[in-house]
Amino acid sequence: STVISVFEKDSIKIDEDLLANSARSLETLVTVGMQLAQMVWTKAKMRL
């Protein structure tokens, strides 16, 4: 089974290591609760 999360454009900055592995077509083994990404302030400010 799979879960996919889709975020609005430019709303998140995904952690570099996850992006780097994915760019090598390499899946990363993670567990629930590990940090994934941070909010992008510019987009959030506009929203708030």
Binding site: S1, T2, V3, I4, S5, V6, F7, E8, K9, S11, I12, I14, D15, D17, L18, L19, N21, S22, A23, R24, S25, L26, E27, T28, L29, V30, T31, V32, G33, M34, Q35, L36, A37, Q38, M39, K43, A44, R47, L48
Partner: protein, 586 residues
């Protein structure tokens, strides 16, 4: 004629086989550390001076086991795995195998040592393993003293033996100082500690340096202070170190021939590791990605010749797909995913060919649906609980029963076990008080892409994939077009409950009916298959203050097609809160 043709054909087959073996050997050589393969090796990554902690010399001295066998030890560190020679038949194998490993401050530091009993024909069996933090080890045991570690049974965590290891680390400054001396000594043919100009010139050529002869002379003369035509290695090493800083003269590695386009530090690290590999100082064999690969018997290696392309990171698409290698984020180590070879074969046949997919269109979708429903019923029977021990045995080092909320006898059916809950606190949530940090929604193999374009470039190969297709017609998808995508793939052994990656309010649930194709990367990487846009799925829209709207899509798959949510529309969820689970069914 007939005989002649047959002989020619045989010769041709032999020649093809020879060529394959040759290709295998050369690729194998290229995949060694420092040789510049794509296997995530030293030479490919740029290490900054701030990150460089030193080069550790790890020695697997020996072990004490509880029975006699011929033993083999593997060390997995970061994205590399090395194996020792096979010992004699004994209870106390001695290997004395050494390997130099690059230590980075923010890089991997945990080494896993696995000990295998060997089989002549079959795959070697892991008997015990231990893990040691090399950075901690060298801090605690600066004198490289021999230290023993308990070897644990991967299935039960019982102690099955002891492993004796030593480890020392070279100071970065020391490594750098030794390096120049070491490379110069290569061409000190008469081993008198002095270099003639011709010896020095040979070395420049080996470095791929095409500087004019007068430049070489100029360098040499600068070191030859008394003008006697020879210089000591120490003098020249000092000069080279300075020169390399100003104008690099080492352009390629003299061992593997790789072009060194990185900075001085990286060139030094590359060559320090590569020289050991090339000069036979190291007694461990590299070129493996995981300890499973390193432990394969020779029969497997025969098949490896014809499936060599599968030995790379990630999943190879096309006909070569047969193994999946993932990277463990905690240990930064590569792990090979267990998939039954028969399943791989059938998935390749179905999902990676037009014919397979056409067959799928002609009724096989219903077969998958029926199969999943049937499996769901079966896994809900009391008898199905008998399968739990064999499931645990198959995934023996990947399911930690200590973190499961209830003991084994609590589970009356296999499905109950499959959707097992974890003890409170088993999964700490990162930055719990900061809702501007999103977290992983599942125990899974994760792919993350900043844009949809990246996701289709690197991973999702189905030609019809789009965000609109994924979210369906009942979700307003404009805000998500060209958004960021995170894919959480759950393997059978994983904890099968999914959690909210963000804090917010559940706006709505949308169910989309569809097929139950496998979501294995073999299918996701197939251009003929569109699993994410054709499978049965439920879309949840979570409204957040920090990230705007977040679409959370739970996708069912073959056999595990039942999606249950434990939350409702209007519920406020905190990141890390459970949202639901997947179970066997249609």
């Amino acid at each position: 004629m007939g005989n002649g043709n047959s002989t020619e054909a045989k010769e041709s087959r032999r020649s093809k086989m020879r060529q394959k073996i040759q290709n295998f050997r050369s690729r194998r050589r290229l995949s060694r550390p420092g040789s510049g393969s794509v296997s995530g090796l030293v030479s490919q990554r740029s290490v900054s001076a701030d990150d460089f902690a030193g080069i550790a010399l790890l020695t697997l001295i020996g072990a004490e086991m509880k029975f006699k066998d011929k033993w083999l030890a593997c060390v997995s560190f970061g994205e590399q795995t090395f194996r020792s020679e096979i010992s004699n038949s004994t209870e106390k194998p001695i290997w004395n195998s050494e390997k130099k490993l690059l230590l980075e401050k923010n890089g991997p530091s945990l080494a896993r040592i696995s000990v295998f009993e060997t089989n002549r024909l079959l795959k070697n069996n892991i008997v015990g393993y231990c893990e040691l933090d090399l950075l901690e080890f060298v801090v605690q045991e600066p004198d490289s003293a021999c230290k023993s570690f308990d070897l644990l049974d991967p299935a039960s965590s019982n102690v099955v033996g002891s492993m004796f290891v030593s480890c020392s680390v070279e100071d970065p400054v020391e490594t750098e100082t030794c390096f120049a001396k070491r490379i110069l000594s290569i061409v000190d043919y008469d081993e008198d500690g002095k270099l003639s100009f011709s010896e020095f010139s040979d070395l420049m050529n080996a470095f791929g340096n095409i500087v004019a002869a007068n430049k070489k002379e100029e360098l040499f003369k600068a070191a030859d202070l008394n003008g006697d035509g020879v210089v000591t290695i120490d003098e020249l090493a000092a000069l080279l170190a300075v020169q390399q800083e100003q104008e690099p003269i080492i352009n390629s590695c003299p061992v593997c021939g790789e072009a060194l386009q990185l900075d001085k530090l990286n060139a030094m690290i590359h060559m320090t590791l590569c020289f050991d590999e090339g000069t036979g100082n190291q007694t461990m064999t590299g070129g493996f990605l995981t300890d499973r690969q390193a432990s394969y018997g020779w029969m497997f290696k025969l098949s490896e010749w014809t499936h060599l392309a599968t030995y790379d990171v990630g999943l190879n698409t096309g006909s070569s797909a047969s193994h999946i290698v993932v990277i463990d984020r905690k240990t930064k180590r590569l792990v090979e995913e267990l998939i039954d070879s028969k399943i791989v074969m059938s998935m390749r046949a179905i999902y990676q060919s037009k014919i397979g997919l056409r067959l799928m269109d002609q009724g096989a979708k219903e077969i998958l649906q029926n199969l999943s429903e049937k499996q769901g019923k079966k896994m809900n029977t009391v008898e199905s609980a008998q399968n739990i021990p064999s499931f645990l045995e198959f995934f023996k080092d990947q399911i930690n029963m200590a973190e499961v909320k209830y003991p084994l006898d609590h589970f009356k059916t296999f499905n109950e076990f499959f959707v097992r809950e974890l003890k409170p606190g088993a999964r700490p949530i990162a930055c719990m008080d900061q809702d501007d940090v999103a977290v992983s929604a599942a125990d899974c193999r994760l792919m993350a892409f900043q844009s949809v374009d990246d996701s289709t470039r690197f991973w999702i190969k189905g030609r019809k994939f789009s965000i609109k297709g994924l979210l369906g017609n009942d979700v307003q998808s404009d805000a998500f077009l060209d958004g960021s995508l995170v894919i959480f793939r759950l393997a059978p052994q994983d904890y099968h409950r999914f959690h909210s990656p963000v804090s917010g309010v559940i706006e709505k649930f949308v169910n989309v009916s569809g097929s139950l194709y496998t979501v294995n990367p073999i299918a996701v990487n197939s251009k003929y298959c569109n699993v994410f846009t054709e499978n049965k799925r439920t879309i949840v829209i979570i409204s957040t203050a920090e990230f705007g709207k977040v679409a959370f899509v739970a996708i069912g798959a073959t056999m595990v097609g039942s999606i249950t949510f434990v939350r409702q529309e209007g519920d406020h969820v905190k990141k890390g809160d459970e949202l639901g689970y997947f179970s066997f069914g249609g």
